[in-house]
């Protein structure tokens, strides 16, 4: 049997739920319109230079046709010098404009691409913190790497090249109609075949290439994981399995390669036959017309050469069209972020005082399933509250509600009488900061890493903040001081140093209330102990809600709340709770010996 069916396994199928929306077709269309509108002038310019280049390219065949006509008529005066001069001039004009077409095309494509990626990041950094907490950053990350990358080709090449190709083909046909009108229908003979072939192909190509690309990415990903997990792979004796997995991925990828190769094996002959049919029918029909005396030999020659020139623009269109199809999917994913409403918040809402209050709060991530039930809590300014309890009990969720990241389903969480969830995120964070395990060190200088907390801070303030968390010792000996590049690709910091930077940011941001979610949990004990001392200094005088998973943190707190199964089951000071002899007391005994 001839033909290859699409492979059953599709590597492009999503494996994790889309945590962020994908743009609806109408959103995508609106965005594309907006983008074109923004670059209208560059677009018009591209069209103009392209027209000039194409028209100039038709001068050659026209002149040759003219000469052929006269030579075959046996004319004695050929005006050859004049013809050659015009030819050379047209050629220079064509070359100059071809250069402009390439350049203008690239400029347009690059501008649109730059707009697109910058727009996306602007949208991303405006996402409400609640959406981020819930969706995680994985989906965003894959959009800004994989999807931008796929779009790069489309924007950089496909859009300008398609514009060029379509116009080029159209102008050539127009030229043919003007210079040898009777030959125009001859070109159209092949159109039905072209349309049928392209319909068949493009119906399948987009999805095919997407899967093929995903399959190839999976080959690289499998290997990258083997490399990354070198120790684990060796410890668990998984070497052979990793090789098998890599080979499975190769089989899945090549199956798609084979499928798309089959698609092209159908398309290529169609295109070739179309080209030959166009040229052949122009020659044959034109030949008959000349023999009938309806057109001249010169017109036939011009027509044949123009028909021959049609190959390039048609190939250009076919070459880039499927790239655009692939790009559409990526564009929808990028534009999807625009569908999320940034929560504006009520800017008039200002907290009076620093008291944190939760009243009969209910909250759930999914409809009908409450993670927190009827939680009430009062945190006086300057006190330290420790939340303890087993994993999944809801203590992290409670912490996020107290930090104003989520809005309660029922009940209210207020700071100084103002409801946190109704305030703009920028306002909330000047009062309350959430510190979690994620101590991201950004690529860039140490200075940038600190200044994000306080844009106008002087170097002296930055050093003071580093000093406050005992980080100035190692920071002082860096070769470039605050200019030292840190983060991925720069100086790699230890987890403890990363955490110190996070704390120094807090010192600079200076919020009066802090929610600490297992802030020191990923550290080894030695580093943690050191850091906790820095932390104590930072926390001094602030209201602190600590989600504690080490009991000594709880021990030092003013109030301890034991969260179990979405409720607060015990509340009181360490001594109270030990005396009460409940769950906390049992744990404490086992921990402290």
């Amino acid at each position: 049997m001839i033909g290859v069916a699409p492979p059953a396994y599709d590597p492009a199928a999503p494996t994790t739920a889309n945590t962020l929306p994908v743009g609806a077709p109408s959103t995508v269309r609106a965005y594309v319109r907006e983008l074109l509108q923004r670059h209208r002038r560059a677009f018009v310019l591209l069209v103009a230079v392209n027209t000039a280049a194409t028209v100039a390219s038709m001068v050659g065949p026209w002149l040759l046709g003219d000469l052929v006509e006269r030579v075959s008529d046996g004319a004695h005066e050929l005006h050859l010098g004049f013809t050659v001069t015009v030819f050379v001039l047209a050629l220079v004009v064509q070359a100059a404009f071809v250069r402009q077409v390439r350049l203008r095309g690239a400029m347009l494509g690059e501008r649109m691409l730059a707009d697109l990626r910058e727009d996306f990041l602007v949208r991303s950094v405006r996402l409400p913190p609640g959406v981020l907490e819930r969706a995680g950053t994985g989906d965003l990350l894959s959009r800004i790497t994989t999807d931008i990358d796929r779009l790069a080709n489309a924007m950089r090449e496909a859009v300008p090249q398609l514009t060029i190709g379509v116009m080029w083909a159209g102008l050539l046909l127009g030229g043919l109609v003007v210079m040898a009108p009777p030959l125009a229908p001859a070109v159209l003979v092949a159109v039905p075949l072209l349309v049928a072939g392209c319909r068949w192909y493009f119906k399948r190509a987009g999805a095919g290439y997407r899967s093929e690309a995903a399959g190839y990415a999976a080959v690289a990903a499998a290997l990258a994981e083997t490399v990354d997990a070198g120790r684990t792979v060796e410890a668990h004796r998984l070497g052979d399995r990793r090789v098998e997995l890599s080979e499975l991925r190769i089989r899945q990828w090549t199956a798609w390669e084979r499928y798309t190769l089959w698609l092209r094996s159908v398309l290529f002959p169609v295109i070739n036959v179309v080209h030959v049919t166009v040229l052949g029918s122009v020659l044959m029909l034109g030949g008959v017309f000349v023999l009938q005396g309806w057109i001249g030999v010169g017109q036939l020659t011009t027509g044949a050469l123009l028909a021959q020139m049609l190959v390039d623009p048609v190939n250009l269109i076919l070459r880039w069209y499927d790239e655009l199809q692939v790009a559409q999917v990526s564009l929808a994913r990028l534009v999807g972020v625009r569908d999320i409403e940034p929560d504006a918040g009520d800017a008039t809402l200002t907290p009076e005082g620093r008291e944190v209050l939760a009243e009969r709060v209910h909250f759930g991530y999914r409809e009908g399933v409450d993670v927190l039930r009827k939680v009430s809590l009062e945190v006086a300014p300057g006190t330290r509250l420790a939340l303890v309890g087993p994993s999944g009990a809801g203590k992290s969720t409670l912490g996020r509600l107290l930090a104003g990241i989520y809005a309660p389903r029922a009940g209210r969480v207020a700071l100084g009488g103002a409801e946190l969830s109704r305030m703009p995120a920028e306002r909330v964070r000047s009062h309350v900061a959430l510190v979690n395990q994620e101590h991201h060190v950004f690529v860039g200088s140490l200075r940038d890493n600190l200044r994000l907390a306080c844009g106008d801070a002087e170097d002296a303030e930055l050093w003071a903040a580093l000093g406050a968390v005992d980080a100035d010792e190692w920071a002082r000996v860096l070769d470039d001081g605050l200019d030292t590049d840190v983060g991925s690709g720069g100086l790699a910091l230890t987890p403890a140093q990363a955490q110190q930077i996070a704390l120094a940011r807090l010192v600079l941001a200076d919020p009066h209330t802090l929610v600490l979610d297992e802030a020191t949990s990923l550290l080894d004990p030695r580093a943690a102990r050191h850091l906790e001392r820095s932390l104590a200094r930072v926390l001094d005088g602030r209201t602190v809600v600590a989600i504690a998973h080490r009991l000594h943190t709880a021990h030092d707190a003013d109030v301890i709340a034991v969260v179990e199964n979405g409720r607060i089951t015990e509340l009181g000071s360490h001594d109270d709770l030990v005396a009460a002899d409940g769950a906390y007391a049992a744990l404490w005994r086992s921990w402290h010996g």
Binding site: P14, A220, G593
Partner: protein, 644 residues
């Protein structure tokens, strides 16, 4: 070799002495495919180049008013059309097949090399780096400063980390380029042969004009070559800029929660905008070069055309050539620009693929530091685990906890307990057998060391837990002992259609899970393996106290009768160990049980309770009394238990 037969059952032993040798080795291994591509290429290019003859023939037929010859031209046209279509399609098939088989072979070689190098490869490849590399950033590994990662605290295996990055890089960016060049060789050969043949043909068909074309064409072929190195350099520069911008963007997104929590969005947006505009400028700068090349590609063949027309019309006017012949030569020059482009392509393919092949060869010639075959026959020893260097003894069948003030030293000691470590030293003995002398595979199956940062491999939970194992521990038991209940719920919630948590997918490195959840899954995986000796390094450092207490009990029950060594400083784990060993300054300093050591050993107390030495000293006075009270309590408890 057909695509459907991939992957190779054996990708072979590559000649990795140098980049060009490696390219040569790849090409030599697909001679059949190369021959096919050459043959179809000849058919295709020759048919394309013969088309102008048809055009000229038809025009001349019309000039001569011969309907028969016009029909003949039509028939010839149809024949050539078939040649073009068949040649093009099968050339494409052969070329793509060559590309894919070469790429697949290199990928297979890389996978085998990575599996063979194993732990020798890497400790940590930063997330950002992998992302940057997988998005196609062409970062040169031998470029100083930026490519190399420096590390502030220790001289961790920098060189190996570099090679780990190199493998990933070769697999994502370099394989395509290598495949491209290997494949392009035969296509180029076909094009070059065609051009030579056409020139010879033209010279014979129409000597005067043919000579002009034969002299002009090689000049055309070579004209743009001097510009190519500069153009590719600009393209490389652009890619570098683009890679940096992508890195900034993904870095900003990765830290977005921090930004949204503390501020600084505008600072990072500005920075990204600057980088993005730099990419744009670099791209336009690069496009300037390419547009110049395009212009030359229009101008030079055009000038040759003008020369042909000028000289040809002269000849035709004098009656030395026919009109048809003039049209043929003109059309030939137009058509020949197509095979001519292959000269540029092969030059570019080589300049791109040579550094890639160099990198690939370097990676493929990496070797392990220790001898994986061992000097003893394969066996699986059993008995006590003993480390002569520190004096650490883990009795067979018992749960031993090791407390070590320095976590780095703990990590090194844990690694040594598994045999074949990266550092030299006397071998650890298992039942009296030196593990370093056993084959690597035997040592690893006897002792499983779970390091501080175990990696969760992506795939379904079922696949994650499907590791070589004794078969005695069922997945639900292991998951239960490691307290993975809430992890399973989280996995089901995060997956598209999985009802059964075993079908739920874990993303790369388990990034969608929290640190504590990842640790518990890794622990469950190690428990399923059920080795004779299980060494766990800080297995619950990111788990809350409630859960940790339950894990301690679960692991103890599940590992009953098996040898287990846990490096920890958590009282909850220490309290459930049969034997607690304090290792201080590289030597065993104290042995006992938790409560005993807590009261008796000041250093132990300092490590375990996280108090400073001064605090311990201050409290020591109370401890004496406290201790007596505690002992009394415990006695009471035991009496209660006994009576119950």
């Amino acid at each position: 070799m057909q695509i459907q037969d991939l992957p190779y059952s054996d990708p072979g032993v590559p000649d990795a002495r140098s980049g060009p040798r490696f390219l040569w080795w790849l090409g030599r291994n697909q001679l059949g495919g190369q021959t096919k591509s050459l043959a179809w290429g000849l058919l295709h290019f020759m048919s394309v180049s013969a088309q102008p003859f048809c055009v000229g023939f038809a025009v001349q037929a019309v000039v001569d008013r011969s309907g028969t010859r016009l029909a003949l031209a039509g028939a010839l046209m149809a024949l050539l059309g078939a040649g073009i279509a068949i040649g093009d399609t099968f050339l494409h098939r052969a070329a793509v097949t060559n590309w894919i088989t070469a790429a697949a072979r290199v990928q297979q070689l890389l996978a085998r090399k990575a599996a063979q190098l194993g732990s020798a490869l890497t400790r940590r490849v930063a997330a950002g780096e992998v992302v940057a590399v997988s998005t196609g950033e062409d970062e040169q590994p031998d470029k100083p400063a930026k490519g190399k990662r420096k590390r502030a605290d220790s001289g961790d295996t920098a060189e190996m980390r570099l090679s780990a990055g190199a493998i990933t890089m070769v697999s994502t960016g370099d394989v395509e380029k290598i495949g491209w060049f290997v494949e392009a060789v035969s296509r180029f050969t076909a094009a070059a042969l065609t051009i030579v043949l056409v020139c010879v043909g033209l010279a014979v068909y129409q000597p005067a004009l043919g000579l002009v074309v034969a002299v002009g064409l090689p000049a055309l072929a070579l004209a743009v070559l001097p510009l190519l190195p500069r153009a590719t350099r600009r393209a490389d520069f652009q890619r570098e800029k683009a890679g940096y911008a992508t890195e900034l963007a993904s870095d900003t997104v990765a830290g977005l929660r921090v930004l949204r929590g503390i501020g600084g969005e505008e600072l990072f947006l500005d920075r990204y905008r600057r980088a993005s505009q730099e990419v744009r400028r670099a791209a336009v700068h690069s496009a300037r070069m390419w547009s110049l090349i395009s212009a030359i590609q229009v101008l030079l063949p055009g000038l040759l055309l003008v020369a042909v027309v000028w000289y040809g019309v002269h000849l035709a006017g004098e009656g030395r050539i026919t009109v048809g012949e003039l049209v043929t030569v003109y059309s030939s020059v137009m058509v020949l620009t197509y095979p001519l482009r292959h000269f540029e392509e092969i030059a570019m393919a080589y300049s791109f693929s040579r550094p890639s092949a160099q990198r690939a060869a370097r990676v493929l010639s990496l070797e392990r530091a220790t001898d994986a075959d061992g000097s003893r026959p394969a066996e699986t020893p059993a008995g006590d685990l003993y480390d002569p260097a520190t004096g650490l003894l883990a009795p067979a069948g018992r749960l031993t906890a090791v407390v070590c003030g320095d976590p780095d030293a703990a990590g090194r000691l844990a690694e040594r307990l598994g045999g074949h470590p990266t550092e030299d030293g006397p071998s650890v003995l298992l039942g009296g057998v030196p593990l370093d002398e056993l084959p690597l595979d035997s040592a690893r199956s006897a002792v499983l060391v779970q390091d501080k940062d175990p990696v969760l491999l992506s795939g379904t939970l079922r696949e994650l837990l499907d590791v070589p194992a004794s078969g005695d521990v069922a997945a639900p038991d292991a998951l239960g002992a490691a307290q993975c209940g809430d992890v399973l719920d989280a996995l089901v919630q995060g997956s598209v259609d999985a009802e059964d948590p075993m079908d739920a997918r874990i993303t790369e490195r388990g990034r969608s899970l929290s640190g504590g959840q990842r640790q518990r899954l890794a622990l469950a995986r190690s428990l399923i393996t059920d080795p004779h000796v299980l060494v766990l390094d800080e297995p619950t450092s990111a788990v809350d106290s409630h859960t940790e207490a339950r894990i301690a009990t679960g692991v103890r029950e599940l590992r009953a009768g098996r040898t287990t060594v846990v490096f920890t400083s958590s009282p909850l784990l220490l309290d459930r160990a049969d034997r607690v060993v304090l290792v201080h300054e590289g030597e065993v300093a104290a042995v006992g049980v938790h409560r005993e050591l807590l009261h008796e050993d000041r250093r132990y107390r300092a490590v375990v309770t996280r108090e400073t030495e001064e605090e311990v000293a201050l409290r020591d006075e109370d401890v004496a009394i406290d201790g007596v009270l505690k002992e009394l309590e415990e006695k009471e408890l035991e009496e209660i238990e006994e009576t119950a």
